[in-house]
Subunit: 345 residues, 2 copies
């Protein structure tokens, strides 16, 4: 056995369990037991094996382990645009939590966010042997896709809104949006306008919902909402429509990038923030504190989000079907300089 690997050979392949066993003078099974901290190994035997491992720089072959156990200790993450701050931070949170739990992470980015591509990404990861998948699929279509998966494969969705069919981890968008809106109302603004995200994004819709709810609760009029696409460009474009409206004194913008675009447009139009107009964003990207003016916004703790959703996923994998189906993390309003009490009129 392994006759081809003589000591004269230049490049010896890395040591395997049998090599360790031989050197330590035990069977491969005993090596395996030592590897897994089995209590049924005599201390001196264990020591001998351990020393052989060190001597040969033995690393267990995880691929072989995966083959026989059916577990790879690897998770998959399918995500949309990891260039965006939110998804990127969530991914980071997941990765760190996974690492701490002893799992590796494989990723699969979607180029377009639709049902077939979400399904394809998941099954690609699955074929790769991952034990479970977390889907950062903020789109409605993405969520839909999850419904049609074999239910015995552990999947959890992030930010996919309140849908009972799949376990989920999410930031409470409604609460965040309501807090932003209420903050503006409390400052004395008669009502609050809203630059929304794309209608097919769950998060966008929930922010709209929170905004509406806060307005209604305060019996404030509900202005028509303006639809953007998360980019600074769209905030800039929408700024024009906003400027055509009379009496706009407060705007809740669905994310910080769009808020930046809006700020830019207002600046060009000679409107001063927050003197003439108050603005609240959403996300608290690292740059938000350095906008002109520093942006009041709603912070989402993406790292925590990643941790929580990993927790749910691991519970699933470990086979506790009764485990938490839903983890919600609370957003936080960060007040900076883009909001002020309404100007005396």
């Amino acid at each position: 056995m392994r006759a081809s690997r003589t000591s004269s050979e230049k490049k010896r392949r890395s040591a395997v369990m049998a090599d360790v066993a031989q050197l330590a003078g035990v069977s491969h099974q005993t090596v395996s037991r030592v590897l897994h901290d089995s209590p049924h190994v005599r201390p001196d035997t264990r020591e001998r094996v351990l020393s052989a491992m060190r001597q040969l720089d033995y690393r267990p072959n995880t691929v072989a382990q995966a083959l026989v156990t059916g577990r790879s200790r690897t998770l998959g993450v399918v995500s949309f645009d990891t260039t965006l701050y939110g998804p990127a931070s969530t991914l980071l949170g997941i990765e760190q939590a996974a690492h701490d739990a002893g799992y590796g992470v494989s990723i699969s980015s979607l180029r377009s966010l639709n049902r077939p591509s979400v399904i394809a990404a998941i099954s690609r990861l699955r074929d790769q042997g991952v034990d479970g998948v977390v889907v950062i699929a903020p789109l409605r279509a993405g969520v839909e896709a999850l419904r049609h998966l074999r239910p015995d494969f552990p999947v959890v969705a992030v930010e996919a809104g309140p849908d009972a069919s799949i376990p989920v981890a999410t930031v409470d968008q409604v609460v965040g949006a309501a807090a932003a809106t209420r903050h503006l109302l409390d400052l004395g603004h008669r009502t609050v306008w809203h630059l929304a995200g794309p209608a097919d994004w769950k998060e966008a819709e929930e922010r709209v919902e929170g905004w509406r709810r806060a307005l209604r609760q305060a019996s404030a009029p509900v202005p028509a909402l303006l639809r953007g696409d998360w980019t600074a460009r769209s905030g800039y474009e929408l700024g024009r429509s906003l400027l055509e409206q009379p009496d706009v004194t407060a705007v809740f913008v669905a994310n910080d990038q769009m808020a930046l675009g809006l700020l830019r447009r207002l600046h060009e139009a000679g409107r001063e923030v927050p003197r003439d107009l108050s603005i609240v964003g959403f996300d608290d990207i690292p740059e938000a504190a350095y906008f002109t003016p520093p942006l009041t916004t709603v912070r989402q703790d993406f790292a925590e989000l990643g941790r929580r959703c990993l927790h749910v996923l691991l519970a699933r994998i470990e086979g506790e079907p009764s485990a938490a189906e839903r983890a919600v993390v609370a957003p936080e309003l960060i007040v900076r300089a883009s909001t002020a009490a309404v100007a005396a009129r």
Copy 2:
């Protein structure tokens, strides 16, 4: 064999090669041949096998394949802060290129960027069975780490500067920085100040180098450089020192975030950009076009960078040691509204 899996069983495990073989009435080897498009299969046999595969929804077990071939068709990426625009975009570029080449991608984020953690991350990925690793390690220390790896494991570094010991893909920072500086000089500024990135980042140093070189070439005085840490905050802080200097009319800032912070400080100090001061950034983050004013900056094509470095890595894996050792992608100066000809004095 497989007697335990009768048709009466509720949850049948997914089909394996033997199942397909049996259904098609051939040997497992023939199934394997069909799977790999071997020419030595009669068309009708192939058709029969294919149909059996479809019928059983057969998916080859990649883990088993990996075990026997020693290849997992998976790549590892170790990166630092995937929350930053640069690394995130590079990661995305790599992932897409890998996907197109039929490879999966596993990631491992570093919490801190030092030698032991880079080494640990690589060997973790390696133990996970990846065929090669790309290291997005912009830190000097990171590059150093690579020198001490077994040379038979394919590794390529991104943005790790000109070091011959490891193949590398990089954006030409020196050229980009020089272009930015020259642009300012051409506008009539006597000299150009520089807010640099951290000294232990290769990229930061190369930008300093490009800036110096352009200044010297134009026989312009070389002002003392100011050190930041890539954050908007540091740009803001450094802005104060800059304001204390007389005669500053042009600043080349090492990245867009710091430029944003600087812009903010200048605005607070009542200095108008570009009338009083011209600013150039670096990276061209998506928000840069919506800063106040829209930022002139140097664009790096991270997607291309990812593609190129993947190309180098795959060549390594496929065992062409003569393959390109170095891929350089050119940066591009994007002129917007933060730069203008020097004011008449």
